[in-house]
C-alpha cells in the first residue's frame, strides 16, 4: 500500500502470520476511512464555530442549512460502510473462516489453559492427539492424558511455550481446565477464548521465525496479569529436531 509505515506510527504490533497481513491492511484501511471522516467533521465543526458564533452572526437563521449537505454526508457514510462490509469484511472473513486446513501436513496442537499457565499438548510422532480425562490429571500429567489410549503414548506437553514450525499450517484446539482464559499470540494476529467444556479451533500459518509473548486475554483471577507464555517459531528443520528431543508422556518402558 502507498501508506505503508503508518502502522508503526500508530503502534501496530509486528505481524508474523499469513493471514496477519490481511488483518493489518484492513485495519489500516479502516483507520484511513475513520481519519478522513473525523478530519472532515472536525473541519466542519471548527468552521461553524468560527462562522456562526454570536459575534460573527448575531442573528440566527430559522431555516438553518438549506442544502442537502447532511443527506449527502449520511449517504456517503452508508456507501463507505457498504463497501467496507461487502467489499472487504465479508470476503476476508470468509477467507479466514472457510479455509480450516485439513490433511496430514497440518500440525495439530491442543492449548489447555488453567490458573495461571498454559499447557501445549502435542500429538507426538503418530500425529494423533490422545485422549485426555480429568481423572488422569496429576502433577506429572497436567493435561490428563489417558494411558489406556495408544494414541496418547507418544504425546507430550510443554508448559507456557508454544513451539511452531515456520510455514506449516497449524490448528490449535483451545480449551481450559477451570475458568475462561484467552489465548492471544499477538503477532499471529488471532486470539481465541479458552472455555472449559469446549475445544475451539484456531488456525494460522507462521511466516516469521522469532519469539513473542502470548497474552492471556480474559480475566482469569488474581494472577491474570502474570499468565505469560511465549510462542516460538522455528524453521521447519529445527522444529523437527526439537520435536524429536521431547520426552513422550508414556515412553515404551512405562506402557
Amino acid at each position: 500500500m502507498i501508506i505503508a509505515g503508518i502502522n508503526q506510527a500508530i503502534g501496530m504490533a509486528e505481524v508474523a502470520s499469513e493471514h496477519g497481513d490481511m488483518v493489518d491492511h484492513f485495519l489500516e484501511m479502516v483507520h484511513w476511512v475513520m481519519g478522513i471522516l473525523f478530519i472532515g467533521w472536525s473541519a466542519f465543526l471548527i468552521y461553524v464555530l468560527l462562522r456562526f458564533n454570536q459575534k460573527a452572526n448575531p442573528k440566527a437563521r430559522y431555516e438553518g442549512i438549506t442544502s442537502h449537505f447532511s443527506t449527502h454526508v449520511e449517504i456517503g457514510v452508508v456507501i463507505v460502510e457498504v463497501v467496507l462490509l461487502l467489499g472487504f469484511a465479508f470476503p476476508l472473513w470468509a477467507a479466514r473462516t472457510e479455509g480450516m486446513p485439513s490433511g496430514d501436513d497440518v500440525l495439530k496442537i491442543r492449548a489447555v489453559g488453567e490458573q495461571f499457565r498454559w499447557s501445549f499438548h502435542y500429538a507426538g510422532k503418530d500425529g494423533k492427539i490422545g485422549l485426555t480425562d480429568v481423572s488422569a490429571m496429576n502433577s506429572a500429567n497436567g493435561i490428563g492424558l489417558v494411558k489406556q489410549d495408544p494414541n496418547a503414548w507418544d504425546d507430550f506437553a510443554t508448559l507456557n511455550e508454544l513451539v511452531l514450525p515456520l510455514g506449516q499450517k497449524v490448528i490449535v484446539q483451545v480449551t481450559s481446565k477451570d475458568v475462561i482464559h484467552g489465548l492471544a499470540p499477538i503477532p499471529l494476529m488471532t486470539q481465541q477464548d479458552a472455555i472449559p467444556g469446549r475445544e475451539i479451533p484456531m488456525w494460522f500459518t507462521a511466516t516469521k521465525t522469532g519469539e513473542w509473548d502470548i497474552v492471556c486475554a480474559q480475566l482469569c483471577g488474581a494472577g491474570h496479569a502474570n499468565m505469560v507464555a511465549t510462542v516460538k517459531v522455528l524453521p521447519k528443520a529445527e522444529f523437527d529436531v526439537w520435536l524429536a528431543e521431547q520426552t513422550p508422556m508414556f515412553p515404551p518402558d512405562a506402557q
Binding site: L27, N53, N57, R61, I65, S70, E74, R96, Q191
Partner: protein, 632 residues
Amino acid sequence: MSASTTTHDKSETGGDHHDHHNPPFWKKYLFSTDHKMIGLQYGFTALLFLAFGFFLMMVMRWSIAYPERPIPLLSELPWFQIWLDDEGKVTGELYNMFGAMHGTIMVFLGIVPLAFGAFGNYVTPLQVGAPDMAFPRLNMASYWCYFVGGVLMLISFFLPSGAAKVGWTSYSPLASMTDSNYSNIFWTGQTQWLLGMVFLITSSLLGAVNVLVTIINLRAPGLTWMRLPFFVWAMLVTGFLLLLAFPPLEVAAIMQLMDRVAGTSFYLPTDVLNNGVLMDAAGGGNPLLYQHLFWFLAHPEVYVLILPAFAIVSEIIPNNTRKPLFGYKTMVYSVMVLGFLSFIVWAHHMYMTGVGASVSTFFQTTTVLISVPSVILLTSMLISLWGGSIRFTVPMLFATAFIPMFGIGGLTGLPLAFNLIDLHLHDTYYVIGHFHYVVAPGTIFALFAGIYYWYPKQTGRMMNTFLGHLHFWPSLILMNGIFLPMFIQGMAGFHRRAFDGGKAYEQISSQVFLDGDSLVAKIFHGGEAIQMLDLNIIMSTSAWLLAISQIPFIINFFFSIRFGKKVDSDNPWDATTLEWATPTPPPHGNFAVEPVVYRGPYEYSVPGAESDFSPQNEPDAAGDTAEKEETV
C-alpha cells in the same frame, strides 16, 4: 438545595392539591414522592458514586503506571494493608476488585442513575407538562431499590473476601467459583454483587415503567408526538431499552447466584476444576449461556448510557444556537431504529467465544448497521450549528465538545465491529479507549452540560461561568490525555485488566513508540526512546490531574446554591420547552397553570416573531392555534 419557594409560591392558587401543608423533613427529603426531589436524590447519590468510581480508578492507575512502587496514602492505612503486598504495592486481587467495582459503579450506580434516574426524573415530567410522574410511589420505590443496591455494593468492600473481583461482566465459571474458599459463601463480595444487581435492575425497571407511562399518558394538551422535545423521545426509547433488556440480566444474575449458593450448574460445564480440584458440581451447564444473557442486556445498556446524553445535548444546542434542531423528525426515527437495532448486536462482544463464522458475520453486519442511525444523530447535531448565533455558555461548551469526543468513540467502534480486525483488537486497550470515549468525554460531558443547564431551574441561581471554564478546558484536554494513548497501546497488543499495566509481557511493552532522537523524547525523556509501557504514566498522570480539575465544579456546585448570580426570570436561558414555564424552583405539582402546547419544541428565531424564541406554551399572536394544525 434551597427549599424556598418564596418568589413564586403558587400554593394558594389551589391549582395543586398536594401543596397545602409543609411536609415533615423525612417526607420531603427522604421518602418524597415528588419526581423532582427523587431526581435530586438520584443525582446526588449518583454523583457521589461517580466520585467513588473515579477514586477506584485512580488507585488502579497508580498500579498500572508504577507497579513496582507502594501505593501512596493507602499503604499508610493499617486496615487497608490486608489488600496490599508486604511492600505496600497493589496486588492483582485488589486491582481486580477495584476494576470490577469501577465498572459496576460507573455504569449501574453512576451514569444510568444520573442520566435516566436524575435527568429523566427531573426533566421528563416538566417537559411533557405533567404535575408528576404517573406512579409517584413506584418512583420512590425505584430510588430506594437503587439505594439498597448501592449499599450492598459498598458493604461488600468490607467483607473478608472484599468486593466482587471478576470484572463488571462477571463471567462464569470464574464468577461462579470465586471466593468459594470462604466458609460463608453468602457473605462474599460476588454473592453480594449479584444481590445488589438484582436490586439495581429492579430499580431501573420501576423507573422505566414510570417514564414510559408518564410520556405516553401525561402529556399536556396540544403536546402531540411530533411536538415532544427530543429529550423526551430519547428518554422514551431509553425506557423501552431498560424495560426489555434488564429482565434477562436479572435472570442471569439469579441463575449465577444459584450456582454459587444452591449448588446448581447453569453455567458450569462437566469436569471443571476449581483451584486445581475437581469441582463438586453436577456440570452440564454452559458458560456461554451467561455471556449471551449478559450481553443481551449489556449492549442495549450501552445505548441507555448514550441516549440520555444525546437527549441533553439536543436540548442545549437549539437553545444556544437560537435556531431549531436540524432534522428533528429524522432524529426521532433514528433514535427508534437505534433502540431496535441495539437488541441484535450483542454477540459482537463474543467474537472470541467460537460462536461460529456465520453468526459472527450476522453480528458484524448489524453492528455496522447500527452506526447508520448514530451517524444521522451526530450529523444532525453538528449541522444544527449551521446558521446559528452560537452563544458559548458553559453548558454549550460541554455540549459542543460532546460532538467530536463522542465522534471518536463512535468511529473507533467501526474497526471493532469487523470480525477480522477484532481478531487482533478484541479485549485490548483499544476497546477500553473506544467505550471510554463514548461514556467519559461523551456521556459524562453531556451530563455536566445538563447540570449546568438545568441548575438554575432548581436553585434560581446560575453556576459561575469562570469556574465553569476552569472545569471544562482542563477536563477536555485531560480526558484525551487518558484515553487517546489507549488506542496506540491497544494496537500494540496491550490487553485489559492487567494490574501491572502489561509490564509482564516484556516484549509487547518494550515496543518503541517514539525514537530516542525524536523531539518529544529529547525534551521529556532525556533522549531515551519512549516505549509503549511509558504511555501508562502519561495516562495515569492525566487521570490524577483530571480529578483535580473537577474541584472547580464541586466548588461551583455548592457555592452557587447560596452565592450564584440570581436568575432574573423563570426562563434564564430564553428557552422554549415547558420546563421553563414553571415557577423557580418548580413547586410540588410543577405548573401554576396547566400548560397548553401550541407549537413544536425548538421554535427559535421564528421569522416575524417578536423575540428570538417562541415558547411551546405561548399562543400565537395571530391566533392560529394547536388544534388546527395536526392531531397525530
